[in-house]
């Protein structure tokens, strides 16, 4: 019986709160709309950074998981002997011989158009024969490459160390920028929500005072404003997410077709993108709710 009463009371409470929030949003419609738009812009920029970070992280993973030592050979190198020597090195996992003809075919495929390498076959082929070696662990790669360079018949042994280093540096910078700009944007948006809700609270200050005299709990007073803040946060997030999905979809599609971006594979899997958008929704909600709670603190002291 008691729990039934409690449920009915909660239901009445919820209905009251939603009605109050709706009325308040109607009353402050333009202000709420402007706040939502600013939240949307903040989250759009923040979300853009997040997507950039996700893609860079993906690129880094691709690079690191595919670290292969390319051992380029002189024309007169003894391939069989070298294959044996390479196999003997500790930490070598696989060895694959890539003849200069295969190398040219691969290059043509990478460019996306085999016709681009027509005319480079046979004696015109500038590529050397090579071994592609994978290591059992990524950290062994630098010393293995060093050892391979010392073998007779080896012209060079490369594994893209500069690229990996630059990418690591870039990722670090982007992450720092992301945190800094993201924090500033979130703070700005929270400040705006605080201002909007405060105006709403000021408009209903008398009502809040009377509510307290009538025995309303703090949460009864707080909840409609909390819903109002969260609603603004959601509206902003939904607009931001829709815009990001549209823009990112377009950019990803362009990159996938663009020959200049053959080395970039934009993240498109829902498993990787869903956490980004869920995170944005959560952030928008928290920003809205947090802003409301800050605005209300001093009005609850009756």
């Amino acid at each position: 019986m008691k729990s039934e009463g409690l449920t009915a009371m909660n239901f009445n409470f919820l209905r009251y709160c939603l009605r109050q929030s709706r009325d308040s949003l109607k009353r402050n419609f333009w202000l709420a709309l402007v706040t939502s738009c600013i939240i949307a812009v903040s989250l759009m920029i923040f979300g853009g950074f997040l997507l950039l970070a996700v893609n860079i992280s993906q690129l880094m993973q691709d690079v690191q998981s595919n670290v292969e030592i390319c051992v380029f050979l002189y024309d007169d190198a003894d391939k069989d002997w070298l294959a044996e020597e390479l196999q003997r090195l500790e930490g070598v996992e696989t060895i694959r011989f890539v003849s200069k003809e295969e190398g040219l075919e691969d290059f043509g495929r990478t460019l996306g158009d085999a016709a681009l390498v027509t005319g480079l076959q046979g004696e015109n082929n500038p590529l050397p024969d090579a071994f592609r070696v994978t290591a059992s662990a990524a950290e062994l790669v630098p010393q293995l490459a060093q050892a391979m360079r010392r073998l007779e018949g080896v012209e060079m042994a490369e594994y893209g160390e500069e690229l990996v280093g630059e990418l690591l540096k870039l990722t670090g910078w982007i992450n720092r920028l992301l945190v800094g700009v993201g924090l500033l944007l979130a703070l700005g948006a929270v400040f705006l929500i605080v201002t909007t809700i405060r105006l709403s609270v000021m408009a209903r200050r008398e009502e809040i005072g009377i509510m307290k005299y009538l025995g309303a709990s703090d949460w009864f007073v707080r909840f409609p404003f909390l819903v109002e803040g969260i609603a603004m946060g959601w509206l902003g997030t939904i607009v931001a997410t829709a815009a990001l999905v549209a823009v990112y979809g377009k950019v990803a599609a362009t990159l996938q077709q663009d020959a200049f971006a053959f080395f970039l594979r934009p993240v498109t899997s829902p498993e990787q993108l869903l956490p980004v958008f869920t995170g944005l929704l959560l952030l928008g909600t928290c920003m809205g709710g947090f802003g409301s709670l800050i605005s209300l603190r001093k009005f609850l002291r009756v």
Binding site: M9, N12, Y16, E206, E207, I210, Y213, L214, G215, S217
Partner: protein, 229 residues
Amino acid sequence: MISLQHVTKNYPGSALPALDKISLEIEKGEFVFLVGPSGAGKSTLIKLLFREQLPTKGEIYFYGRNLARLNKKALLNHRRQIGMVFQDFRLLKQKTVFENVAFALEVLGKAPKEIEYKVSEVLDKVGLAGKEKSFPAELSGGEQQRVGVARALVKDPLLLLADEPTGNLDRNTSRQLMELFETINCEGTTMIIATHAWDLVDQMQKRVISLEKGRLVRDEKRGTYGYEF
């Protein structure tokens, strides 16, 4: 029902206490006038009873519970047992008479049907039947105060506190309001009314507690106002 034991209230920056070692008892169902010059401590006493403020020293008991030791939930329950009536009515201008009174029950999470029934009943009791859809600005001062009384009464309080309820009303309307208070008191609600309405206090012959400069100077079972105007 109410027991004050050596209650003192000091406000920061004020040399004299607003209330100075007040001790008194009020029984259930009593009708009490708080009288005294402005600044005597009447409003402070009302605020302490509502637990809007805490005494600096001494203790206040309401049905045996020390008001200084109420947790949040108990404090809400305490306030829900008390109806407050203000000199300036404190009605919400954008709400109708019905909505203003219903607000007191919405705050307590009551169901719409119960709210409708109880609000109609209490508006009838205070003589405002037919005015449900009016806004406060469309009512006279006396009618606005009746809305304030209805809002305090609708939650069936054990105690009704009124701080200068007739302060903004003419003599005739004040008398009608006091008659309403007397009816409410006859139905069992304890009343504590801070007032300057000397003629009504003299006429009604109820218990009178007189405060001066924060001190209790007089407590009479059937008293008069006792100050000259």
